[in-house]
């Protein structure tokens, strides 16, 4: 299996996760979208040195992983490309901010290190929240949620088609890569001299395939909006879920759980 086939498999794994059945999966997509945005906003609102405040926010993804039956390992596997970027965000802070904040066992911890770790924690938690939403919702339901929030249909259709065409392009890339390697034994990647024609052909082939797919959609009545736009409305359980979620986020945001737990033991 080449890397493109692997990528296709990973895309389908997300569909598999989204098609599972759990209390989390059954929640209205717009509600999940809103609470995810709320959670991310709460996480990023912590001060740049407030690592003890940010860390307890991990409780919420932990509960959602359990409620949705979503494997944590899959989350980190999927995030492996984004994680280095997130982790790199604050990597230079220790060089600029050398003020010593605390000493742990005699080792000084500078503001730079603290802010770097806080940024990393915020990034990881935000990615986890986005992953949980995608893994428990699926692209079609997510788009339905966006439409129910009155996001313009053009933007939503564009998002959905982009998602669909990722697999189309990946398939074309997979076929072309296999064809290339069959006639270029021993080469590790695509030789730089072939990049231009390779990318040009990929673009042309993907456009052809995308055109055919679009024709197939038009032939079955597609006129710019997917049918899911008229999906179900949020119910009492969805509202209850949103209320509990928001309450939990607010408690973790404004009650310093670290100090509270520490106070019990000290």
């Amino acid at each position: 299996m080449n890397r493109m086939d692997q990528a296709l498999l990973e895309l389908s794994e997300m569909d598999d996760l989204a098609s599972m059945d759990s209390p989390l999966h059954r929640r209205h997509p717009a509600v999940k979208l809103l609470v995810t945005v709320f959670y991310i906003a709460a996480v990023v609102s912590f001060g740049k040195y407030d690592l003890p405040g940010v860390l307890p926010m991990a409780l919420i993804p932990a509960i959602l992983f359990a409620a949705g039956g979503i494997p944590v390992s899959t989350c980190f596997k999927k995030m492996r490309f984004a994680l280095p970027l997130v982790l790199a965000v604050g990597v230079f802070n220790p060089f600029f901010d050398r003020t010593v904040f605390i000493r742990i066992g005699g080792i000084p911890v500078t503001g730079g290190v603290l802010s770097m770790l806080t940024l990393m924690a915020k990034g990881v938690l935000s990615l986890m929240a986005a992953f949980i939403m995608m893994a428990s919702t699926g692209i079609d339901s997510l788009c339905a949620g966006l439409r129910s929030l009155h996001v313009p249909k053009t933007a939503v259709s564009l998002l959905l088609l982009t998602w669909r065409y990722i697999s189309v392009m990946t398939k074309e890339l997979s076929v072309m890569t296999d064809a290339y390697h069959l006639r270029a034994p021993g080469q590790k990647g695509i030789h730089v001299s072939a990049w231009g024609s390779f990318l040009g052909q990929l673009l042309l082939r993907s456009m052809d395939r995308a055109g055919e797919l679009y024709s197939a959609m038009r032939l079955r009545g597609f006129r710019g909006e997917f049918y899911y736009a008229g999906g179900r409305r949020a119910g009492v359980r969805d509202v209850l879920f949103a209320a509990c979620f928001a309450a939990a986020v607010l408690v973790l945001r404004f009650v310093h759980v670290g100090e509270l737990v520490g106070g019990i033991f000290v």
């Binding site: 296709l8 389908s12 569909d15 598999d16 098609s19 699926g138 079609d140 669909r164 697999s167 398939k171 395939r209 055919e212 797919l213 024709s215 197939a216 959609m217 038009r218 032939l219 079955r220 009545g221 597609f222 006129r223 049918y227």
Partner: protein, 247 residues
């Protein structure tokens, strides 16, 4: 009234190079017609003109409706088009989702569309494919599922582009049996002349964008001289046997 009607249809992809030239023919309701011709004869263009994917000079009518931008939605409800490559046909994650896509676009509720899809799947003996992911089913299953997505729209006519292409003998036979069992009007473009012989009572032979022959399948597909003059061969089931209707 004819189900599909071409009247003096001319079409060019490039100016001055017509692919179809003054083409006139009709397919009656309930008929099963094979559309044959060598590569580049214009078969695919004809198929695309019927549901209005291309605009032509001349008149194309479906069940009396003139095909055009304004009538495209109405026409496409009446005519289902099974594309040659099922990968181009199916774009939703699962077979069921693909099947309900069309009916829901035409106003059915999800429950109604699902019920219809389930019925078609049962009729075609494909119920086990219902919740399978499109990219995880075999080529033959995908072809059958692609046909099912079109039949779920309950079209009055079905046009098919190479329905048996790249299928193994078992799946080919399954598709042929399925085509034979359907009562809709059918226009089938194919190089598989044995399949055409099995499924169609009438054949239209296109050559260089013009109508080269139109008549009973038995007669046209036995006419070695006519077929060879148009870069085709006798069906395997006739090859080696009487190739001349007079013999």
């Amino acid at each position: 009234m004819s189900m599909i009607e071409f009247q003096n249809v001319t079409f060019s992809y490039e100016a001055g190079k017509p692919v179809l030239k003054d083409l006139t023919f009709a397919v009656e309701k309930g008929e099963s017609v094979g559309l044959i011709g060598a590569n580049g004869a214009g078969k695919s263009t004809i198929m695309k003109l019927i549901p209005g994917l291309l605009d032509s000079m001349g008149r194309v009518r479906v069940d009396g409706i003139s095909v055009g931008k304004d009538t495209a939605a109405e026409v496409r409800k009446k005519v289902g088009f099974v594309l040659q490559d099922p990968d181009s046909q199916m774009f939703m994650p699962t077979v069921l989702e693909d099947m309900i896509f069309g009916p829901m676009n035409y106003g059915l509720t999800k429950d109604e569309a699902v019920a219809k899809a389930d019925r078609i799947l049962a009729e075609m003996g494909l119920s086990d494919l219902r919740n399978r992911h499109n990219h995880r089913i075999s080529g033959g299953e995908k072809k059958m599922a692609a046909i099912a997505t079109i039949l779920a729209m309950e079209p009055e006519a079905v046009i098919m582009d190479e329905p048996t292409a790249s299928l193994d003998p078992y799946n080919r036979r399954t598709v042929i049996n399925m085509i034979r069992s359907r009562s809709e009007t059918k226009l089938i473009a194919s190089h598989d002349l044995d399949m055409i012989l099995d499924t169609c009572s009438r054949v239209i032979l296109i050559s260089g964008g013009v109508l080269a022959a139109d008549g009973p399948a038995e007669r046209i597909l036995r006419d070695r001289a006519l077929l060879e003059a148009n870069r085709m061969e006798l069906p395997l089931s006739y090859a080696g046997r009487a190739s001349d209707p007079d013999r």
